[in-house]
């Protein structure tokens, strides 16, 4: 009834393709931004930051990245964990080799290095597709984790085999290191998330995004409109890996502070991000956020309810979480392959027309 486009006419093609075509959606978005920037930093505490908000922001970047490759360009990847590790180790090496380099630049450079590695591992995608490509990226996952374990240079020959993030500041606030505050870390991640989401949206709405989707939907037809399959797939690998590398750098430097590669960036992480985009919605920016929010919040919620309120043992709660996630994935795949984002879109469409469906 109230959610509608009354008087919201589009008079130009630019307006017709804007990100939030409805006024109401635009206002909701601006409100969300205002809260995220002006309210949350002042009320955030360590628990909320480390249990919910920062992981949500970081996984959103990773899932945006994988969604570009898998959801938009149709190339399934199980190498996300490995590519996050590239971002993390790149950040570590850069931080320790260039102590004066700004942390924002380090994070972006880590993304760029991961993009280059992603392109390298994307090369086989010209020849192999679908299941076989997934297996090839799985090999990349294991190879990368092995690589960072094997060569001590990557962890500066530390005895523990771990890497740990030194303290770095942004505008005088510590964002990495043991004494960085929750609001500073949150703001640092938030700015990156917004910037990258904006980039993802812009890339997917125009020529490049359409060429990705063309490859995804029918590569033969893509070629006859002039799309170079290899170049297009490699662009998707590059952009996707950039995002995932940034996520890995943040996960290590801002969130965990110290990591051991197999534990932090194992194959479970590859699956986690894949589940995020399946549940949230393949080929949807909003879906990437929904999926990340869902899989970050679900364990927190379940833990609080089952272990906290009901007093069940913690490992039982963890098992039940896996069962629920599995069930939800099957449900989305069977009922709505385009994920929660699509359900939301359909619901909005109905709401727009209600109560007069014609």
């Amino acid at each position: 009834m109230f959610y509608r486009e009354a008087g919201d006419y589009k008079t130009t093609y630019a307006e017709d393709s804007q990100t939030f075509p409805l006024k109401l959606d635009r206002y909701a978005y601006y409100t969300l931004l205002a809260v995220a920037f002006l309210v949350v930093p002042f009320v955030i505490n360590d628990y909320w930051a480390s249990a919910v908000l920062i992981p949500f922001l970081i996984w959103s970047i990773a899932s945006l990245g994988l969604n570009i490759l898998t959801g938009y360009c149709g190339q399934v990847s199980l190498g996300t964990g490995g590519f996050m590790a590239v971002g993390a180790y790149a950040a570590y090496k850069l931080m320790t080799s260039f102590p004066d380099l700004n942390i924002m630049i380090i994070v972006l450079l880590s993304g760029a290095i991961t993009a280059a590695v992603g392109v390298l591992f994307g090369l086989p995608s010209l020849r192999i597709k679908g299941f076989y490509l997934a297996v090839a990226t799985l090999a990349a996952q294991f190879f990368l984790v092995w690589l960072f374990n094997k060569f001590e240079w990557f962890y500066n020959y530390s005895a523990s085999g771990q890497i740990s993030a030194p303290t770095r500041e942004m505008f005088g606030y510590e964002v990495t290191g043991p004494s960085a505050s929750a609001p500073a870390k949150y703001m640092f991640c938030l700015v990156l998330v917004l910037g990258l989401a904006w980039v993802a949206r812009n890339l997917t709405r125009g020529r490049i995004g359409r060429s990705w989707m063309a490859i995804r939907d029918m590569d033969i037809a893509a070629e006859i409109i002039g799309v170079n399959p290899l170049k297009t797939k490699l662009t998707a690998f590059a952009v996707s890996s950039f995002f995932i590398g940034v996520a890995g750098a943040l996960f290590f430097a801002v969130y965990l502070g110290a990591v051991e590669v197999g534990e932090a960036f194992g194959i479970q992480k590859s699956f986690l991000v894949l589940f995020m985009i399946i549940i949230g919605g393949l080929g949807s920016i909003l879906g990437s956020f929904i999926g990340a929010a869902f899989l970050v919040l679900l364990p927190v919620l379940l833990k609080n309810i089952m272990a906290g309120a009901l007093g069940w043992p913690i490992d039982l709660a963890a098992h039940i979480e896996l069962v629920i996630i599995g069930f939800l994935i099957m449900l989305t795949l069977v009922l709505e392959p385009h994920g929660v984002a699509q359900l939301w879109r359909v619901a909005k469409q109905k709401l727009r027309l209600w109560p007069f469906p014609h």
């Binding site: 093609y13 125009g206 490049i208 063309a214 409109i225 002039g226 170079n228």
Partner: protein, 269 residues
């Protein structure tokens, strides 16, 4: 044959846009195309007909680079063409549709037709990331061209519909739209009317004639419906078992004994 001619309806057909010289294409032991030569001239509607399995689709696949003939030469705009990838050939201004519709199922009608503008859109990745400025201006300029195609094909109502949800006849029309959006020099249509009812066929024939007439687009089409072929094409190539058995105006082809024989053996509705 001289370099240009005038059609019965008074259009002047120009020089050779494309010339196939002694093309032979084999798949292992199967000879799909056997030593075929013909040309397609500026502004004409050129039909390729023949029984099932004659090699017609293979010929289009050779023209747009999916198949590489073992023998023969392809001349495009007076130059011998080197072996090229389909996307490179697309950039030279050859667009096509497929016998089995090949649309992008996950995208709307509008987006499908917008993909046809791919070759004409040039802003680089950095500008695309920014969107505001050149990227958005380019998008809008190309959207205007696409909207004209949408108007032309009378598919305004399904602009935002995912193409997977469209009936067969409309999907064929959207696929034509995608090819038209590229504003090609040469348009290849593989059975644009297959599986359509009489009314849809009439619409499609009208679109093909209008495209040729209004934009001067050179068209090569494969079609089984003889009535349609004889009505709309200027010249016809007839293939049978990979060989060319006839080439000429609809009237010449109709009275060609080899063609009559080939068609008596096989039923073609």
């Amino acid at each position: 044959m001289s370099d240009s001619y005038v059609t019965p309806d008074g259009r002047t057909i120009g020089g050779k846009v494309l010339e196939m010289r002694n093309i032979t294409l084999r798949f292992g032991g199967v000879v799909a195309i056997k030593d075929i030569s013909f040309d397609i001239r500026e502004g004409e509607i050129r039909a390729i007909i023949g029984p099932n399995g004659a090699g017609k689709s293979s010929m289009l696949n050779v023209i747009n680079g999916f198949y590489h003939p073992q023998e023969g030469e392809i001349w495009f705009h007076g130059e011998k063409r080197k072996p090229m990838k389909p996307y490179q050939i697309a950039k030279q201004g050859i667009a096509r549709t497929f016998q089995n519709i090949a649309l992008f199922k996950g995208m709307s009608t509008l987006d499908n037709i917008m993909t046809g503008r791919f070759n004409q859109m040039k802003t680089n990745m950095a500008l695309q990331m920014l969107w505001k400025g050149p990227a958005e201006r380019e998008e809008v300029a190309n959207r205007e061209i696409v909207e004209r195609v949408i108007d032309f094909l009378e598919i305004q109502a399904i602009r935002k519909t995912p193409v997977g949800a469209l009936p067969y006849g409309l999907q064929k029309r959207v696929e034509l739209g995608r090819a038209l959006a590229a504003q090609p020099k040469l348009l290849l249509l593989d059975e644009p009317m297959a599986g359509m009812n009489v009314e849809e066929k009439e619409d499609m024939s009208r679109f093909i004639l209008d495209v040729n007439d209004e934009f001067g687009t050179t068209i090569a089409l494969i079609e089984h419906d003889m009535g349609v072929v004889m009505d709309i094409s200027d010249r016809v190539v007839v293939m049978d078992y990979g060989k060319k058995i006839g080439d000429g105006t609809p009237d010449e082809v109709r009275n060609n004994q080899a063609v009559i024989d080939a068609y008596l053996g096989v039923d073609h509705g």
